[in-house]
Every structure is written in structure tokens, then in C-alpha cells.
């Protein structure tokens, strides 16, 4: 294949990575932005989304599209409910202390991982894509499902933006993000806002897991890479900045696609980590984050 089509293929693969990464990182950024909690267990919510998608696909009879549609709804809801419970049982009791919640979410990470290993097992299991269309370009054929992933993630992120900027709940979340004490003085139940935010962040990660599982397979250790990349994205974009997160996800995803295709995936990770180091040195609050 000539260089041009090869680059186009690499960019399309990068866009798929960007799409799922943007979803997962948006959840992480939202949780940090509103709650000031660095959620180390975020990757496990992504993994749970994928594993639950496999479980739902196994339980729902009929065409794969129906099972996948059910998984798209059920998995994020279940993971969101689990996150809400974790918030009430663990984070709230720690009064959302930044240091204590880091330790607590590390514990949560291992609890979720080991529980999944016990209940689901060590195997990687595939989930059938809801459809197997292929788009035939002049140089190569490309999976229609991967294009669907990009479209679906884009629509979800658009809906998230509309939710945050156009709804009363979004306004309450943004006010709480700015000043939780003053928010309380105006009748905002901050505990409830935190619970909803943690559930929403986890739900977004789970949704990313559901979307990726027909491409990657579900495995109990699959949460590590998305966690690392999500942290890279939110550090570059600026912790708590949704706009920065989306732009950084695009940059990291595309560069990951291109560098992985032309060189090696390891080099892509090394360069992303180097970029994080440079951002931390020269612009510690990220490209779009507010100065502390």
C-alpha cells in the first residue's frame, strides 16, 4: 500500500482510539473536576463495561445487534449504580479527602479486578459486533463498526456537553465544581451531586468499554491501558477541563494510531508519556486547565 492510504488507515485507527479514549477520559476529568477525586479505579469501570457487555450478549437471545443494544444501555447503568454505591460507602465516609480517596480508589481497583477474576475468569472473551458492514475505499476496506464507534462516541460527548451547559443538573454540577461550600448555601445537596458525578464518570468509562469490546475482547486486566491513557489525556488537557480532555484525546489517539502503525505501539506510549512530562514541566495545569 502507498504511503497516503497507509496514513489514512493509521488516522482512522487513531480516531477509533481517540473516540473511546475521549469517553473514558471525560469521565475521569468530570470526577476530578467536580469532586477533586483522582479515581485510580476508573480503568476498572471501563473493564466492567466490557465484561458486562459480554455477559449481556450471552444472556440476550436473538440477533447480535439486539444484544449489543441491550449491553449499551445495561452495562453503563449497572456500572454507574456500582460507582454510586462505592461513593456512598467509601468516598463520602472519607469526606472526599484528596489523599485518602486516592488510596481508597486503589483499593477499589483491586477489589473490582479480583472480583471480576473470581466471577468471570482469566479468559479474554469476544463479543460479536452488532453488524459486520465494511466500507470499501479505493485502497482498502474498513470496518463499519469502527466508524460507528467514532460516531457513537461523538454523539455521547455532544450530549454530555449539552447536559453540562444546557441543563439545570449540569449547572448545579458546574457550580459545585467552582465552590462546594457556597453551593451548599444555595440549597445544593453536594453529597447527591458527588454521587451522581461519580456514577456518570463511571458510566462513561463503561460505555467506552462496551464500544471497544467487539474490537478488543473482554478481559479482567484490560483496565490498565485506558487508565494510563486517560490520565495522560486529562493531564495534557487540564484536569477538570472537558474541552481540554477532548482535544488531548484527539491528539493522543491520532498520534497513537499513526505511530503504532508506522513504528511500534510501545513508541507511541513512550512519546505520550514524554508529552505528559513536558506539559507537567512547562504548563503544570494542562493546556486548558485553570491555574490552581
Amino acid at each position: 500500500m502507498a504511503f497516503g492510504p497507509f496514513l489514512l488507515l493509521a488516522l482512522m485507527e487513531g480516531l477509533v482510539t481517540s473516540a473511546t479514549l475521549a469517553l473514558a477520559a471525560a469521565g475521569l476529568s468530570l470526577v476530578f473536576g467536580v469532586m477533586r477525586v483522582v479515581n485510580v479505579a476508573h480503568g476498572e469501570f471501563y473493564m466492567l463495561g466490557a465484561v458486562l457487555a459480554w455477559a449481556v450478549a450471552a444472556l440476550v437471545p436473538g440477533p447480535p445487534a439486539l444484544a449489543f443494544l441491550a449491553a449499551l444501555v445495561v452495562a453503563p447503568l449497572l456500572v454507574g449504580a456500582l460507582a454510586a454505591a462505592a461513593d456512598g460507602l467509601i468516598l463520602k465516609r472519607l469526606n472526599y479527602d484528596p489523599e485518602a480517596t486516592i488510596v481508597a480508589t486503589i483499593g477499589l481497583l483491586y477489589m473490582i479486578q479480583q472480583a471480576t477474576l473470581s466471577l468471570y475468569g482469566p479468559n479474554a472473551n469476544p463479543v460479536q459486533a452488532p453488524f459486520d458492514w465494511r466500507i470499501q475505499l479505493p485502497w482498502f476496506g474498513y470496518s463499519g463498526y469502527k466508524l460507528f464507534v467514532i460516531l457513537a462516541a461523538g454523539l455521547v460527548l455532544l450530549a454530555l456537553w449539552a447536559f453540562m451547559t444546557r441543563t439545570k443538573a449540569g449547572l448545579i454540577m458546574r457550580a459545585t465544581q467552582v465552590d462546594r461550600t457556597t453551593a451548599r448555601a444555595f440549597g445544593i445537596n453536594v453529597d447527591r451531586v458527588y454521587m451522581g458525578t461519580f456514577a456518570l464518570g463511571a458510566g462513561l468509562a463503561a460505555l467506552a468499554g462496551v464500544l471497544i469490546v467487539p474490537i478488543q475482547q473482554a478481559h479482567y486486566l484490560m483496565g490498565g491501558d485506558p487508565l494510563l491513557l486517560s490520565f495522560i489525556v486529562v493531564i495534557i488537557g487540564g484536569l477538570g477541563s472537558l474541552r481540554g480532555t477532548l482535544i488531548a484525546a484527539l491528539v493522543i489517539g491520532l498520534s497513537d494510531g499513526v505511530i503504532s502503525m508506522f513504528f511500534t505501539p510501545t513508541l507511541a506510549k513512550i512519546l505520550a508519556t514524554l508529552l505528559v512530562a513536558m506539559v507537567l514541566v512547562f504548563r503544570p495545569h494542562g493546556l486548558f486547565g485553570a491555574k490552581a
Binding site: 448545579i172 458546574r174 457556597t182 451548599r184 448555601a185 444555595f186 440549597g187 445537596n189 453536594v190
Partner: protein, 232 residues
């Protein structure tokens, strides 16, 4: 029908700041709180709002007990708070700050329209981000945000601190208008001239207690009571 506080004790962790505050605010009247720095004036307002938990004592508004309520429940009973330093939601617009103020009462348009007649300048800046307003406009917004709650009692913590004289008189006029509408105003203020011009009564705090309450009528700027309790 008033705000009545009896024997209020509160503080931060092991540090007790309020040591048995007795206090009363009447509808349609402005009661100023004066005292030296660190006597507990701001802590008292925070305690009324539930932001600093009371360990002992009672807070009654129209007979309803407010002590022990979670902070987010207090505004539903008609208490609104203008904190020291404004504490606006800076990245949000003026309209969004006002909408947060009106959450408790359902953001009815009539209340917003009324608030904007008190501060017409804010009406021209509804889509402007709050942190880009001037200091005086930010203070107006802080008060307007509290008024969107349709309060029975308005607590203001040094609302004219650091403002230019024209802005100070504008804000004082607005506060006066509110008392005409039956709102009880509790005002932490350090400047004697402002207290004499604005207040109906003044409560002097010493070491976490209200030591003395006086009607402003008959008080002069050189009255020894100010020197005793405020040091001016």
C-alpha cells in the same frame, strides 16, 4: 416572626469560636454585628447557614428549628447568605449565578425581574462571565444571587468592603429597599458611619458572645460604645 438565636456554641474542630450567642433579628429591620477581628462575626453567619455546625444552642426562624439541619436544607427555610469576599461562581455567567440563587424557590421570573430592578446594571450583563465583572458589580451580583432565593432573612458579611463610595451607596440603598419589603437583614459591618446610616440596631460581639445590643437611634459616631467594642 423573627430569627431567634439562643446559647449558640460552635467552632472549628477543637477550637470553640462562638461561646453562647444570643441574638434576635426582626423583619423589616437591619441589625448590624460589630466587634473586633476574630470575635466570631463571620463564624456566626456561617453557623446560621449550617456551614459551621452548632454544638449547642438553638436557631429558630418563625418558630422552626434550624440547628442541626444539613447546610443545603437551611436556605429552604428562608435564610440567604452573602459571604465575605463575594464567593461568586466565577466561571459561570451572571444569569447562571442568579439561577443558582433561585434554585430553592424554582427560579420564578417575577423574583428575577424584581432583583434586576434593584440592580439594573446586572440586567445588561446577564451573559457576561461573573469573574470578569468589576468589584462593585461582583458585589451586586453576590447580593442579587442571594435575593433570588426570596429570603425572609438576609445575612451579609461586609458587603461594601473595598468598594468605591458610589457603589457603597448603591448597595446600601438596595439593602434599605429590602427592609421596606419585610426582609430581616443581619449585617456584619466594621465601619461606624455605615452602621449609623443604615442600621436599626447594633449587636456588639466580644469573644464569641453578643455582649450588648443597642438601638442605633441616639448613638453618635463618637459614642464610647464603639471605642469599647470595636476600638475606633
Amino acid at each position: 416572626m423573627a430569627l431567634e438565636v439562643a446559647g449558640l456554641i460552635a467552632g472549628y474542630g477543637p477550637v470553640t469560636v462562638l461561646r453562647g450567642v444570643d441574638f434576635r433579628a426582626e423583619p423589616g429591620r437591619i441589625t448590624c454585628l460589630m466587634g473586633r477581628n476574630g470575635v466570631g462575626k463571620s463564624t456566626f453567619l456561617k453557623c446560621l447557614m449550617g456551614l459551621v455546625p452548632a454544638t449547642e444552642g438553638t436557631i429558630r426562624l418563625d418558630g422552626t428549628a434550624l440547628e442541626g439541619l444539613p447546610a443545603h436544607e437551611v436556605p429552604r427555610h428562608g435564610l440567604a447568605y452573602v459571604p465575605q469576599g463575594r464567593r461568586l461562581f466565577g466561571p459561570l455567567t451572571v444569569a447562571e449565578n442568579l439561577a443558582i440563587g433561585g434554585l430553592v424557590q424554582g427560579n420564578d421570573r417575577a423574583t428575577l425581574a424584581h432583583v434586576l430592578t434593584l440592580f439594573p446594571r446586572l440586567g445588561e450583563r446577564l451573559s457576561q462571565v461573573a469573574q470578569t465583572l468589576s468589584g462593585g458589580e461582583q458585589q451586586m451580583l453576590s447580593i442579587a444571587r442571594a435575593l433570588c432565593l426570596k429570603p425572609k432573612v438576609l445575612l451579609l458579611d461586609e458587603p461594601t468592603e473595598g468598594l468605591q463610595p458610589s457603589m457603597v451607596s448603591l448597595i446600601q440603598d438596595a439593602i434599605r429597599t429590602l427592609t421596606g419589603q419585610g426582609v430581616a437583614v443581619v449585617l456584619v459591618e466594621q465601619r461606624v458611619d455605615a452602621v449609623l446610616r443604615l442600621a436599626d440596631s447594633v449587636a456588639f460581639m466580644v469573644a464569641g458572645r453578643v455582649e450588648e445590643t443597642r438601638d442605633v437611634k441616639g448613638l453618635a459616631a463618637d459614642d464610647p460604645v464603639f471605642r469599647n467594642y470595636v476600638g475606633v
